[in-house]
C-alpha cells in the first residue's frame, strides 16, 4: 500500500516556543485522513509545513514522494490546498478567479471549475468581495478541486458552509477517497468528520496524542459509566493508569474512557454488589477527542500515548 504523506519525528519551533513536538504519522493513499486538535494545537503549522511553506526544525517529511522543502513547486502542482483563511482577490469575479488559476494547470481546469461552481450554486459573475464567508469557502474549494489533485489538503474546509453543502461536500470526499485520491483535512466539525474519516489523528499542544483508523480506535476504547453504593469501598477493577484515557467523577457516579476493556472485566464489574447503574458503550469521536485532549487535572490522561502507528493499524 502506498503512502501519500510520511511524517517522521517532526519538530517545529518558533523562537523558544515549540509548536510541533516529535510528530510522526503516515497517511495511506486513497483515504480520508482527519487531523483534529484544539485551537493553537499546531494543525495549520503542520499542514503548511507539509506543503513546503516553511521548513520543520527537525524531522523528515515526504508528500506524494516529494520533499516539501526541496520541491515545493512540484508538490503544489499535485496538491489541492484550501487554507483556513482563503485569501482570494476581492476584485475578481468568481469566473475570473477560476480563469486566473487555470493558467497554472493543465487543460480542463476551467471546465471542472465551472462545473463545481454550478454544483455549489456560485454566481460566476459575482465579485469575491460581495460573497458571503460560506460562498468564499466554496470558491476556494472549487479552485482546489478543479484540477483533480491526488492529494487534497483542507484546513477547516467546511467553516462557513451550510449543513446541506457541508454534508454533500464531505460525502464527495469519501467518493474521492474511493477513487484512490487522498484527502487530508483538519476540522472542528467532529461529528461530520466522524462520518467520513477513515483515519483520525489528534494533536494536542503540539504533540500527537493518537493516530489510528477510526473504526479501530472506536473498537479499542470503551466508555464505562457506573455508580458506587459505598464510595469508600474499592471498585472491583483497578485499571492500569495507562489504559484510562479519561476519568471523571460526579458524587458517587464515575465515567471512564478505557482502552482495552475486555468482556471478562465487564462481567466482573456487573457482579460487584457495590456497583450499580453500570453501562459500557462505544464512545463517539467527540468523546474520544475530549478524552485525548482534556487538560490535566480534569481528566486523568497521564497514560495517553499514541495507540498504534498507522502502518500497524493498516
Amino acid at each position: 500500500m502506498s503512502v501519500a504523506i510520511n511524517v517522521q519525528h517532526v519538530c517545529k519551533k518558533f523562537g523558544r516556543r515549540t509548536v510541533l513536538d516529535n510528530v510522526s504519522f503516515e497517511v495511506p493513499s486513497g483515504c480520508v485522513f482527519a487531523l483534529l486538535g484544539e485551537n493553537g494545537a499546531g494543525k495549520s503549522t503542520l499542514i503548511r509545513g507539509l506543503l513546503g511553506f516553511h521548513q520543520f526544525s527537525s524531522g523528515a517529511v515526504e508528500v506524494l514522494g516529494k520533499s516539501p522543502a526541496k520541491e515545493p513547486m512540484e508538490l503544489r502542482r499535485l496538491v489541492g490546498y484550501v487554507s483556513d483563511q482563503p485569501g482570494l482577490y476581492e476584485w475578481m469575479t468568481v469566473a475570473e478567479a477560476g480563469w486566473y488559476a487555470s493558467g497554472f494547470y493543465a487543460a480542463g481546469f476551467l471546465e471542472r471549475f465551472s462545473q463545481l461552481a454550478i454544483d455549489f450554486n456560485l454566481p460566476l459573475d459575482g465579485k469575491v468581495r460581495d460573497l458571503s464567508k460560506g460562498m468564499r469557502a466554496k470558491v476556494a474549494l472549487s479552485l482546489a478541486m478543479a484540477f483533480d489533485p491526488q492529494l487534497l489538503v483542507l484546513d477547516e474546509p467546511t467553516s462557513g458552509l451550510d449543513p446541506l453543502v457541508r454534508r454533500a461536500f464531505l460525502e464527495s470526499m469519501v467518493d474521492r477517497a474511493a477513487a484512490g485520491q487522498t484527502v487530508f483535512l483538519s476540522s472542528h466539525q467532529i461529528q461530520e468528520v466522524e462520518r467520513v474519516a477513515d483515519y483520525v489523528a489528534i494533536l494536542h499542544a503540539g504533540k500527537l496524542q493518537v493516530v489510528a483508523r477510526l473504526d479501530d480506535l472506536k473498537a479499542e476504547v470503551t466508555m464505562i459509566n457506573y455508580s458506587l453504593r459505598d464510595p469508600l469501598l474499592a471498585a472491583p477493577i483497578e485499571f492500569d493508569s495507562s489504559e484510562v484515557l479519561q476519568r471523571s467523577q460526579s458524587g458517587r457516579s464515575f465515567q471512564l474512557l478505557v482502552r482495552g476493556f475486555k468482556p471478562e472485566m465487564q462481567e466482573l464489574m456487573l457482579r460487584d454488589p457495590n456497583l450499580f447503574e453500570f453501562k459500557a458503550v462505544r464512545p463517539n469521536l467527540e468523546e474520544l477527542y475530549i478524552g485525548f485532549t482534556q487538560p490535566a487535572g480534569v481528566a486523568d490522561s497521564s497514560g495517553s500515548k499514541p495507540l498504534k502507528a498507522v502502518s500497524d493499524v493498516a
Binding site: M1, S2, V3, N6, F14, G15, R17, E26, P28, S29, N39, G40, S44, R48, L51, G52, F53, H54, E62, L64, G65, P72, M73, R76, R77, L78, Y81, S83, Q85, P86, G87, L88, Y89, E90, W91, M92, W99, Y100, A101, S102, G103, F104, Y105, A106, G108, A140, L143, F147, D148, P149, Q150, G180, S311, A314
Partner: protein
C-alpha cells in the same frame, strides 16, 4: 510499506504552458494596480495641463512653470513604484491573497518578474504619456521642446538621478513589504533605510575623498563615484530583493522574519492584546475612553516611531544643508503618514468591528484615535519649528509650512477612513495633496496677476474653511464607519476633497477685490487738498489721499521727519569718502574727475533720447550726481567747483520743468531740495558768500493751479473708467490711448472670465488702476512701458506728496537762509 510514486492520473496536473502562466500572472498583477496607475497618470496629466494653462495667463516674467510639468512627469514613476509595491506585495500580504497566490504552482521567479514587468510597463507608459502632456503644456505658451531642457548637464543629471532613485524605491519598498506585513510601516521603514543609506554614502564618500583623493576634491565633481555607489547599492538591493522574495514566497505570508521572532498568525488584534496586557495588572477595569486611548496609542506605534525617525533624519539633512525644502518635506510627509495612520490600523482585517460590536461611543473612539498621532505631529512640528527657524528667511517661510500640516493631517485621516487599504489611502492622499497644492499654487499665481499689490497669503485665509470641511466630513463619517460593514464613501470623499481643494482658490479670487485699497486717484478730494495748509509742513493730510506704508504720516514727513539736519549730507559724504578710500583717491582728485559730468551738463545737458523713460532716468541721475558733486565741493570749500556744480544742477532742474519731464524727475528734484535743507549753517553761509545763491537753489515748483490741473485730469479719467462696464471696454480704452500692453489680463478677459462678476470687477478695478497710472505717464511721454505703471501703484499719491514736500522744503530753506542772513548781520561789525 513503501512511499509510492503516484498513478498516471497525476499527469493531469502537469505544468501549464509558460505563455499561459505569464498571461495569467500579468493579467492579475495589472488588474491589481490598473486603477491606481490610470488615476495617478490622469491626475498628473491634469496638473500639467493646468500649469500650462496658467502659464498662458501669466505675464512673461512669471512663467516659471515649465520645469514643474516636467518634474511632475518624472515624479510619476516614483509614485507608481510606491503604488505597485504597495498593491502587489504589501496589499497582497495584508489581505491574505499572498497565501493563495503562493499556494498555486507558480515559481517565485515568475511571480517577481511579473510584478516587476507590470511596474516597469506602467511606469514607462505613464512617463511617456506625462512627458507628452508636459510637452503640450510647454507648447501652450512658447515653443519649448523637452530635449532643450536636457541640454544643461546638471539638470540632466538631476532628471536621471530622479528616475534612478525610483528603482531604489521599488527595491527597498519591496524588501520592506516582504519583511513587514504592515504596508505603511514597510513604506516608512523603506524610506528610513534609503535615506540612511544615502546619508551614510554621502558622508563616507566625502570622508574618502577628503582623506585619499585630494583635500580640495569636491563631492559634486565626483559624479562617477556617486553613480558607482548608487549602482552598487542598487545591485546589492536587487540581490536582497530576490532572496527576500524567494524566502517569503516559500514560507507564506504569515511566517515571521527569523530575526524578529514569531508574530501572531491567527489575526489577533495586537493593539487590543497589548492594551489588555497593560491593564491586566490593574486592580480595576479601565474606563472605555482610557481603553480606547490606550488602543489609539499602541495602534501603529511602530509605524509612528518610524515616522518620527524618518522626519528627524530629513530635518537633520535639512540642517546639514541649511536648506528649507527637506525640512518642510519632512514635516509634511510625517503629517501625511500620521494622518493616514489614524484609522488605517483598524481598517486592516476590519479590526474596527471589535469596537463596533461592543457599541463603543464613536466620539471617544475618534478622540482616542486622533489624539496620539496628532500629539506626535504637534511634537514634530515643534521640533521642525526650531529647525525651520534657523533656515527660514521670512515669517511666511516659518509659519506656512507648519500651518499646512493641519490640512495634510486631516486629508490623510479622511483617506484612511474611506479607503480600507493603507497603501491606497496613502497614495490617494499623496495625489489629493499634490492636486490641492497645484490648484492653490495656480490660484496664487492668478492672484499675483490680478492683485499685484496685495499679499497672496490672502488666499490662505480660506484654508481653515477647507480644513474644517474635511474635518467635519471625517467626523460625520466615523459613526457610519462603525455602523456599517463597508463604508462606501468614495463619492463623499471625492466631493469633499474637490470642494476643499478649490474653495480657497475660488473664494480668494472671488472676494479678493474687496482687499484692493482705494487708490489715491480714486475719488481724490481735490477740494480738501486745496484747503490744506501746507506751509506749516507737519500738518496731517487726509490719510486716504497721501499716506505711506500706513504710518499715518506724509511721505515727506516720513523722510524729512526722521532726518536730522545733516544726516543726508553725512550719508552722501561718508559713502563717497568710503569709496575714495577704497580707490586711494583724495577728495580733490575725485572732484577733478567729475569735471566731465559738469562739462557735459554745461555744454547741453542730457542728450535727446527716443525713449522718454530712458531720458527721464538719465536726467534724474544727472540731477542727483551734480548735486552730490556740489555738496562735496561745498564741504571742501572749493568755491569754483561748488558754484559750477550748483549751477549745473540748477540748469538740469530747469530743463526738467518741461511738461514731458516734470513729473518723472520730481523725485530727483525732491532729493535736491532735501539736500539743500540738510546743509549746515556754515555751508549756507559759504554759499551765500558767493553772492549767487539765488541762481543756485532749485527753481520754484510749478504753481498749485498747474498741479491741480494734472490731478483733475487724472480724476476725470478715473471717473470715465469706472463707468465702463466690461474689461474689453477698458482694454479698448487703453488701445485708444496707445498704452495697450498685452498680458495675462487680456487672456483672462477673453477667456470668458468676465462672465463671472466678482472676478470681472476685480479685473476692471485693477485694470483701471493700471490704466490710470499709464495715462498719468502718457501725459509726459508717449512710449511708457507697462512696467513703470505697475511698479508705481500709488503714483498719484506720491506725486501729490512730492509736490507739497517741495513747497514745504523750499519754504523751510527760505526761512533758514533768512535766519542765517540775520545771524550774519548781527555778527557783522
Amino acid at each position: 510499506m513503501s512511499t509510492a510514486t503516484f498513478n498516471p492520473s497525476a499527469l493531469n496536473s502537469a505544468q501549464s504552458s509558460p505563455s499561459r502562466v505569464w498571461r495569467h500572472l500579468l493579467w492579475k498583477d495589472w488588474r491589481q494596480v490598473w486603477q491606481l496607475v490610470i488615476g495617478i497618470t490622469i491626475v498628473q496629466a491634469a496638473l500639467q495641463l493646468m500649469l500650462g494653462t496658467l502659464e498662458v495667463l501669466l505675464p512673461v516674467e512669471m512663467r516659471e512653470l515649465s520645469k514643474a510639468s516636467v518634474n511632475i512627469a518624472l515624479a510619476a514613476p516614483t509614485l507608481l513604484a510606491i503604488a505597485c509595491c504597495g498593491m502587489l506585495i504589501g496589499h497582497e500580504r495584508q489581505t491574505g491573497c499572498w497565501a493563495w497566490s503562493s499556494s498555486l504552482p507558480v515559481s517565485w521567479r515568475q511571480s517577481l518578474l511579473s510584478k516587476t514587468v507590470v511596474w516597469v510597463f506602467s511606469s514607462t507608459v505613464s512617463l511617456i504619456l506625462l512627458l507628452i502632456t508636459a510637452q503640450i503644456a510647454l507648447s501652450m505658451n512658447e515653443r519649448v521642446w523637452l530635449p532643450a531642457l536636457f541640454q544643461n548637464s546638471s539638470s540632466t543629471w538631476t532628471y536621471v538621478m530622479t528616475l534612478a532613485i525610483t528603482v531604489q524605491v521599488f527595491i527597498f519598498f519591496s524588501i520592506a513589504a516582504l519583511l513587514i506585513k504592515d504596508t505603511l510601516m514597510a513604506f516608512v521603514v523603506a524610506a528610513v533605510g534609503m535615506l540612511a543609506l544615502h546619508i551614510a554614502t554621502i558622508i563616507a564618500l566625502a570622508y574618502l575623498l577628503e582623506t585619499f583623493v585630494s583635500s580640495h576634491s569636491r563631492l559634486e565633481e565626483n559624479i562617477i563615484l556617486f553613480v558607482g555607489v548608487y549602482l552598487l547599492s542598487s545591485i546589492l538591493g536587487a540581490i536582497g530583493l530576490v532572496y527576500a522574495y524567494r524566502w517569503r514566497w516559500n514560507v507564506g505570508q504569515y511566517a515571521p522574519v527569523p530575526l524578529f521572532g514569531r508574530t501572531s498568525s491567527v489575526g489577533i488584534v495586537r493593539p487590543q492584546r497589548a492594551a489588555w496586557q497593560s491593564f491586566a495588572g490593574a486592580s480595576t477595569a479601565p474606563s472605555e475612553f482610557r481603553m480606547l486611548l490606550n488602543h489609539g496609542m499602541r495602534s501603529a506605534l511602530g509605524l509612528r516611531i518610524a515616522v518620527v525617525v524618518l522626519a528627524l533624519l530629513l530635518m537633520a539633512l535639512a540642517l546639514m544643508d541649511r536648506a528649507l525644502p527637506p525640512c518642510v518635506f519632512a514635516i509634511w510627509l510625517a503629517s501625511c503618514i500620521l494622518g493616514v495612520s489614524v484609522f488605517s490600523g483598524d481598517q486592516t482585517a476590519n479590526r474596527f468591528r471589535f469596537f463596533a460590536d461592543r457599541g463603543v461611543d464613536w466620539k471617544k473612539l475618534l478622540i482616542g484615535h486622533v489624539l496620539p498621532p496628532a500629539l506626535i505631529a504637534v511634537g514634530l512640528c515643534a521640533i521642525a519649528g526650531v529647525a525651520i527657524l534657523s533656515v527660514a528667511e521670512t515669517a511666511a517661510d516659518y509659519f506656512y509650512p507648519l500651518l499646512i500640516c493641519i490640512p495634510i493631517f486631516i486629508v490623510g485621516m479622511l483617506s484612511s477612513l474611506v479607503f480600507a487599504s493603507p497603501i491606497i489611502s496613502l497614495t490617494v492622499t499623496f495625489v489629493v495633496l499634490s492636486a490641492m497644492f497645484a490648484i492653490n499654487s495656480g490660484a496664487i499665481l492668478i492672484w499675483e496677476v490680478i492683485y499685484p499689490y496685495n499679499h497672496w497669503e490672502a488666499i490662505a485665509i480660506w484654508f481653515p474653511v477647507s480644513t474644517a470641511i474635511i474635518l467635519v466630513v471625517a467626523i460625520r463619517l466615523v459613526p457610519r464607519w462603525l455602523r456599517v460593514d463597508r463604508l462606501n464613501a468614495f463619492i463623499t470623499y471625492f466631493w469633499t476633497v474637490f470642494i476643499a481643494a478649490f474653495l480657497p482658490a475660488v473664494f480668494g479670487l472671488t472676494f479678493g477685490f474687496l482687499t484692493i485699497p482705494n487708490y489715491p486717484w480714486q475719488g481724490i478730494p481735490l477740494d480738501r487738498i486745496s484747503n490744506v495748509d501746507w506751509s506749516g509742513g507737519p500738518e496731517v493730510k487726509p490719510r486716504s489721499v497721501i499716506t505711506r506704508e500706513n504710518s499715518g504720516l506724509l511721505r515727506s514727513q516720513n523722510r524729512a521727519g526722521y532726518l536730522n539736519e545733516s544726516k543726508l549730507s553725512l550719508e552722501i559724504k561718508e559713502t563717497i569718502e568710503g569709496d575714495l578710500l577704497e580707490r586711494s583717491m583724495s577728495r580733490s582728485q575725485w572732484l577733478a574727475s567729475q569735471n566731465d559730468l559738469l562739462e557735459a551738463i554745461e555744454q547741453g545737458g542730457p542728450k535727446p533720447q527716443k525713449d522718454g523713460l530712458q531720458l527721464s532716468a538719465n536726467l534724474s541721475q544727472m540731477i542727483k550726481d551734480s548735486a552730490t558733486v556740489a555738496l562735496m565741493a561745498t564741504d571742501a570749500r572749493d568755491k569754483d567747483k561748488s558754484l559750477r556744480a550748483w549751477k549745473a544742477n540748477r540748469k538740469l532742474i530747469e530743463f526738467s520743468q518741461q511738461p514731458a519731464l516734470q513729473v518723472t524727475t520730481m523725485e530727483a528734484i525732491l532729493f535736491v531740495w532735501e539736500m539743500w535743507n540738510t546743509l549746515s549753517d556754515s555751508d549756507l553761509k559759504f554759499l551765500e558768500s558767493t553772492g549767487e545763491l539765488a541762481q543756485l537753489t532749485p527753481p520754484d515748483p510749478i504753481s498749485l493751479d498747474e498741479f491741480r490741473t494734472i490731478l483733475r485730469a487724472r480724476a476725470s479719467i478715473k471717473r470715465e473708467l469706472v463707468r465702463l462696464r466690461s474689461v474689453n471696454d477698458v482694454l479698448n480704452q487703453m488701445g485708444r490711448f496707445g498704452t495697450y500692453t498685452p498680458d495675462g489680463f487680456n487672456y483672462l478677459a477673453t477667456w470668458g472670465f468676465n462672465a463671472f462678476p466678482p472676478l470681472r470687477w476685480a479685473i476692471e478695478r485693477q485694470q483701471s488702476a493700471k490704466l490710470g497710472s499709464e495715462l498719468n505717464s502718457t501725459a509726459t511721454y508717449a512710449n511708457l512701458s507697462g512696467e513703470f505703471a505697475v511698479g508705481e501703484s500709488s503714483y498719484s499719491g506720491y506725486l501729490t506728496n512730492a509736490y507739497f514736500t517741495q513747497i514745504f522744503l523750499k519754504k523751510r530753506l527760505d526761512n533758514r537762509l533768512q535766519e542765517v542772513r540775520n545771524a550774519e548781520k548781527q555778527t557783522a561789525p
